[in-house]
């Protein structure tokens, strides 16, 4: 697991803080693509997913934005009220379920904090020379983050207290075959977009704060190498791959960042805690393989086919 530190914490709108994260040594972070999210395990012990909303051309920092949710489970309150510059944060990912597909024209629809994954997409669309526009709604102008970062002339900003609900139907018009619509925000907004846009032309991400199902443990666990019969204890300071290497097991690896798939290992027993970017959701759920360069155990014991 990679440890990061908070290097900046800025209020970017009413109820929204942006965190800047870096490695303690300032080194290079794993690459990511627009739409990607990271899993962050905070000092409170909770793991939450946040969209990356910074600049991918900066290899040494990540930016995420966190909305204060008074009714939430406490993760956002912890970020707002307790987490401070210099505090450690554990990183999982990045992974991308919301990738930008190539198209001549993009229409981006954001509801509130749902603007975050769209910011790097907008930056990409600019570089690609694609035609793009953004419809961005929020409760009040002061609660809408990153307004100052939107390139002029492409964004329609609709604070609800000034202008009412998003004029989705008129703004979208007819969505032609050259257009892909990206929408991120609360469920009612996505439902409204889904009613207007053919499924093939629409990509959505629900903005939710669900916790990750697998418990992410920081207590040591044991890994049994079935073929050699040895057992290794893995504590928070090492990866499963490193721990196995110390026992003399050779597992071919390459990226050691959970991106290339080279270290894939068959799991015979126990439940892996997947932290890689390679496996699809159904492959994770199957639990019969893992990428030990980054992935860990959700159970006390793992048995690997090595």
């Amino acid at each position: 697991m990679t440890s990061l530190v908070v290097t900046a914490k800025d209020v970017v709108a009413d109820g929204v803080v942006a965190l800047t994260l870096a490695r303690p040594d300032g080194g290079r972070l794993p690459d990511w693509t627009p739409g990607a999210h990271v899993d962050l395990t905070l000092g409170s012990g909770e793991t939450r997913q946040y969209s990356l909303c910074g600049d991918r051309w900066d290899p040494s920092s990540y930016r995420v934005a966190v909305l204060r949710e008074p009714d939430g489970r406490g993760g956002s309150r912890y970020v707002h009220d307790v987490l401070a510059v210099g505090d450690p944060v554990e990183l999982g990912g990045p992974r991308n379920h919301f990738p930008l597909v190539p198209a001549p024209r993009y229409r981006f629809v954001a509801g509130g904090i749902g603007v975050t994954p769209l910011l790097p997409m907008i930056a990409a669309a600019e570089v690609l020379g694609a035609d793009w526009s953004l419809l961005y709604g929020g409760r009040r102008r002061a609660s809408m983050a990153f307004l100052d970062e939107l390139p002029a002339g492409h964004a329609t900003v609709v604070p609800q207290d000034e202008a009412g609900l998003l004029p989705l139907a008129s703004w979208l018009g007819t969505v032609d075959d050259d257009t892909v619509v990206y929408a991120c925000g609360p469920a009612p907004l996505l439902a409204a977009v889904e009613a207007l846009v053919p499924a093939a032309r629409l990509r959505t991400e629900r903005f939710t704060t669900t916790e990750i199902a697998a418990p992410v443990r920081d207590t040591p666990f044991t890994v049994e190498l079935a073929r050699s019969g040895t057992t290794v204890t893995v504590d928070a300071s090492v990866s499963v791959l490193e721990a196995m290497r110390r026992e003399g097991a050779t597992t071919l690896s390459s990226c050691e960042r959970g991106t290339c798939g080279t270290c894939e290992t068959t799991v015979l027993a126990g439940v892996p805690d997947h932290r890689d970017q390679v496996l699809a959701d159904h492959e994770r759920a199957a639990g019969d393989c893992m990428l030990p360069c980054v992935s860990r155990a959700a159970t006390d014991h793992l048995v690997l086919d090595l």
Binding site: R28, P59, L100, V101, A200, T251
Partner: protein, 411 residues
């Protein structure tokens, strides 16, 4: 420009060691290790006056540069030619010769199609094909058999399974190897190797391009998967044939020469073949150790996006930089006895497949082909020994064997 005008004099950055050796001369190409050692010993970066070019040969710097796509860009070409000044000989690759964000979608699509889990459906077929292939080669006599390891194994086996897996036509497959051979020469300078291939390059390229359309590809295979991704909107219809082309460009010769190095390693290190046959745990590293040791892809280039400090000097913006993968894989600063082909070694982290964003997306395919062929050989062949002098072929990018006379002793 007329002959009377002086050529612009390329001035290297101050404090950079300069070499006047041409790394693309046939002598260096066929025996690159002494040049690599001199390059590494000169420092983290050297200026190669022959081509107005910077070169890195040490493991740490090569790996760091491969990872740092922000400052070492690929879209200006990953050969010597600078696409910002020269017209590329073919439309640039959407993978190899592209930077983010253009690179994102093609890479994402191909990584999924060529990932280890997606390949499982080919595993049994390829293992069975390898058994058939090796059985036919050994015949029924029971005695030792002499073959050219390059044509009979390293070329024949990938050509038997890979084009079928892509789903291209049977007719015309003889274009594949010379197309790759030319492509890898064309990453270098316009020397006699490029000139020799140029005559027929257009014909090979036209055939390859013709294989990439939806209409010509089989209903099952990597090619069909790529077109299915286009149907889902993950690629455009204009990108799909170029992504198929990437498979045919990068997926044949590389595997062929990787296999060539495994076979040469086994023939010259009989103890390693015995180890491979007796110890299952060494099988997984075997192909990668051969790729490290032989480094079939020796070099790729990047272009400095900004002034980049390296060692005591600064590589100026716009410069071409040769990243010597083969040299990094032989850097004694990183590897113990790098010249030894040794299955006991953990070759993890070698840069023979590149590294970072552009790391070979087909590496799992190549490993699976190698695993299939080697497993079939291991079951049936007790000893592999040289049956004559191996013959080198010079290529501007690849370190190749033209011929590997081998004697296979059935068990």
């Amino acid at each position: 420009m007329t002959a009377a005008e002086p050529l612009p004099v390329a001035a290297p950055a101050p404090d950079v060691p300069v070499s006047h050796v041409d790394p693309f001369s046939v002598d260096v190409l066929t025996d690159p290790l002494p040049f690599q050692a001199a390059l590494r010993d000169a420092g983290p970066v050297q200026y190669l006056a022959a081509h107005d070019l910077y070169a890195m040969g040490r493991y740490a710097e090569v790996r760091a540069a491969l990872t740092d796509w922000q400052r070492f860009c690929s879209s200006a070409g990953v050969g010597l030619s600078n696409f910002r000044r020269e017209e590329p000989w073919r439309p640039p690759s959407l993978l190899l010769e592209a930077d983010p964000p253009h690179h994102d979608a093609p890479r994402r699509v191909l990584s999924a199609i060529l990932g280890p889990r997606a390949l499982r459906r080919w595993r049994d077929r390829w293992f069975a094909a390898a058994v058939e292939h090796v059985d036919a080669l050994l015949g029924t006599g029971g005695g030792p058999v002499e073959v050219d390891g390059m044509t009979a194994l390293a070329e024949a086996f990938p050509l038997r399974v890979f084009p079928d897996a892509v789903g291209i036509a049977r007719e015309g497959r003889e274009h594949l190897l010379p197309y790759g051979e030319y492509l890898f020469n064309a990453f270098g300078p316009h020397n006699e190797l490029v000139a020799a291939g140029a005559v027929e390059a257009g014909e090979h390229a036209a055939w390859v391009n013709g294989q990439c359309t939806r209409a010509t590809l089989a209903a099952e295979g990597f090619g069909a998967d790529i077109w299915a991704a286009a149907d889902r909107g993950d690629l455009t219809a204009e990108q799909a044939p170029l992504v198929v082309r990437s498979l045919l460009s990068a997926g044949v010769d590389t595997t062929v020469h990787g296999l060539g190095w495994v076979l040469h390693g086994m023939a010259t290190h009989p103890d390693q073949w015995a180890l491979y046959r007796s110890d299952d745990s060494r099988r997984r590293v075997c192909f990668d150790e051969a790729v490290r040791w032989g480094s079939p892809v020796q070099t790729f280039f990047r272009t400095a996006e900004v002034d980049v400090p390296v060692g005591d000097t600064v590589v100026p913006e716009g410069s071409k930089i040769l990243l010597y993968l083969g040299s990094a894989n032989h850097d004694p600063r990183h590897w113990d006895a790098p010249e030894r082909f040794d299955l006991r070694r953990d070759p993890s982290g070698h840069v023979g497949f590149g590294f970072g964003l552009h790391q070979c997306v087909g590496q799992h395919v190549a490993r699976l082909e190698a695993d299939a062929l080697l497993a079939a050989l291991a079951d049936r062949v007790e000893r592999i020994e040289p049956a004559g002098e191996p013959v080198r072929r010079a290529n501007n990018t690849m370190r190749e064997w033209a011929s590997l006379p081998l004697r296979l002793h059935p068990r």
